[in-house]
Symmetry: C2
Amino acid sequence: MGNTTRSKTELSELGEFGLIQRLTEKIVLKNEGSIKGVGDDCAVLDFKNKKIVVTTDLLTEGIHFNLMYVPLKHLGYKAVTVNLSDVYAMNATPKQITVSIAVSAKMSVEALDEFYSGIYLACERYGVDLVGGDTTSSLTGFTISVTAIGEAEEGELVYRNGAKDTDLLCVTGDLGGAYMGLQLLERENEVFKINPKMVPQFAGYDYILGRQLKPEARKDILPIFRELGIHPTSMIDISDGLSSEIFHLCNQSGVGCRLYEDRLLFDSQTKKMAAELNINPLVAALNGGEDYELLFTIPVTEHDKVRNHPDISVIGHITDRSEGVNLITAGIGQLIPLTAQGWNGLNERIKE
Amino acid sequence: MGNTTRSKTELSELGEFGLIQRLTEKIVLKNEGSIKGVGDDCAVLDFKNKKIVVTTDLLTEGIHFNLMYVPLKHLGYKAVTVNLSDVYAMNATPKQITVSIAVSAKMSVEALDEFYSGIYLACERYGVDLVGGDTTSSLTGFTISVTAIGEAEEGELVYRNGAKDTDLLCVTGDLGGAYMGLQLLERENEVFKINPKMVPQFAGYDYILGRQLKPEARKDILPIFRELGIHPTSMIDISDGLSSEIFHLCNQSGVGCRLYEDRLLFDSQTKKMAAELNINPLVAALNGGEDYELLFTIPVTEHDKVRNHPDISVIGHITDRSEGVNLITAGIGQLIPLTAQGWNGLNERIKE
């Protein structure tokens, strides 16, 4: 575990401008709308007559990531994809990102190269340009701020507030995997801290580890919507946990919801890890977060369009606000009011 | 000194969503182009057919600010204006900002209210909308990330790379004040640490303290350009120090430069503080940074337009690249090659 690099160059050897030069010299802007990237007071962009969407995230060491077990390349990749996920959740297409970092003097140039290799890999895979940022120092941990900018035609945009009574609640992919991946990493990190000679037990869990360490944003869903002739009435990405996201949709739309436990999809590794750690996978899905799947609603009249799609599950339906937000349990079908727990980012999330 | 608040509410009492609600509930979007602000996966903006500029800054406690003597309201204000300064340096008009913060649990809700009151004051004065951000926790210090978005017609934009041989080098306002203000704050903080009963000696230095603690961006210069019929050939804002900014302009434009010491304008407080601390005000101007004035070039044929303007000084002229970047000293007119020192953000800047 841990991040090892062969050679180590001190950041002070390059200086601020030298470092920026090194980290950005290979950038080739690919999007027509990226007129000017790194190197001036601002980036300059052109979206013609399209609407622009903007989202930003701030990630701090010890809260959002633990460098003991998160490879820097994955961290760079994830820092980008979690922002792109917000853009896709608007039914928009990401085009540019800015990346700012604050680094402590103990971080090496080679470590930052690793981090940026993940950033650039995500840029390449998602067709976005890195057009700006800030590079500065930190007295303590590593801090990352990413802003993503995307575009959409006005009529394409999907907000959180459009869900209507009787709409179907749908989700892409499977849930709870990222959370179970985190539990596995935490467990092995604890073992490692006690005995550094122990070999981490990761075999058979590549999927949930990947869900935690290098999540993908659902770029593929937008063309699927077009293919199926679907325009969601509301949409949000699952970053804080299904429960919290359902509450966001319902609150903003002024509706209630019924979520059916037996409709939730779990990967076999999620279930296996959950059993091993004695965690109910439902809890991982509801409160774990970081799945970066898309949660959306469509009119019930469009049920046939999604019914058999392998990437989409219908997990519930919208109700009148007065009915509240409820989970219908598997088996006996008990109705349990959901809470908007989600992940409280203001509490410490990962342990040292 | 220090930040005192009467009542203290723990952040955990509000939780993440409660805190976001409290900090953003008073927002009223004012710009026509701000279609959707805080509360969805992304902000949605509309710039019609205009070009968009984007800039971002990351500020960390202990490097960019010292909470021992920086009032939180000023910090919020400054975090915004330094970004707007970058937008004006493109000859563009800022329209929106996003603000992300990472806070340690020890920070109170009231302290964040103070910080945001500065953010909102800047938004009001500069006509920009707060449209998004991220609120998260930090294991250590306070971290701020601001992204500013602005607009301009294509032909209005001014880049760093357009300076031509014989162009005049111009600067707005006076220089070195922010640096001398910082020195004063540092000195009094040292005194305070040794004897907390000592009353800080700030009398007569309100201007340079203001330059350091709550700098303004030169919003007023764009209409002046239009009034004077000036379109700069290149422009940059002075954040890292005049020397470093001149190097940026010259490098990107492929030219050299002569800067005349006797043309530099200093405020009387800057000179007085510099004398008191035995610092050459020239050094404060060249390497101090944070003046947030605009440095720009215009064709020599336009000299008459700026010659007598109270807000603009002609401080030098552009030369062929082969002549390098030189300072012509006052008095005997010695020619001294400048170095691109500026402020190296990767070294610690302020002491604890």
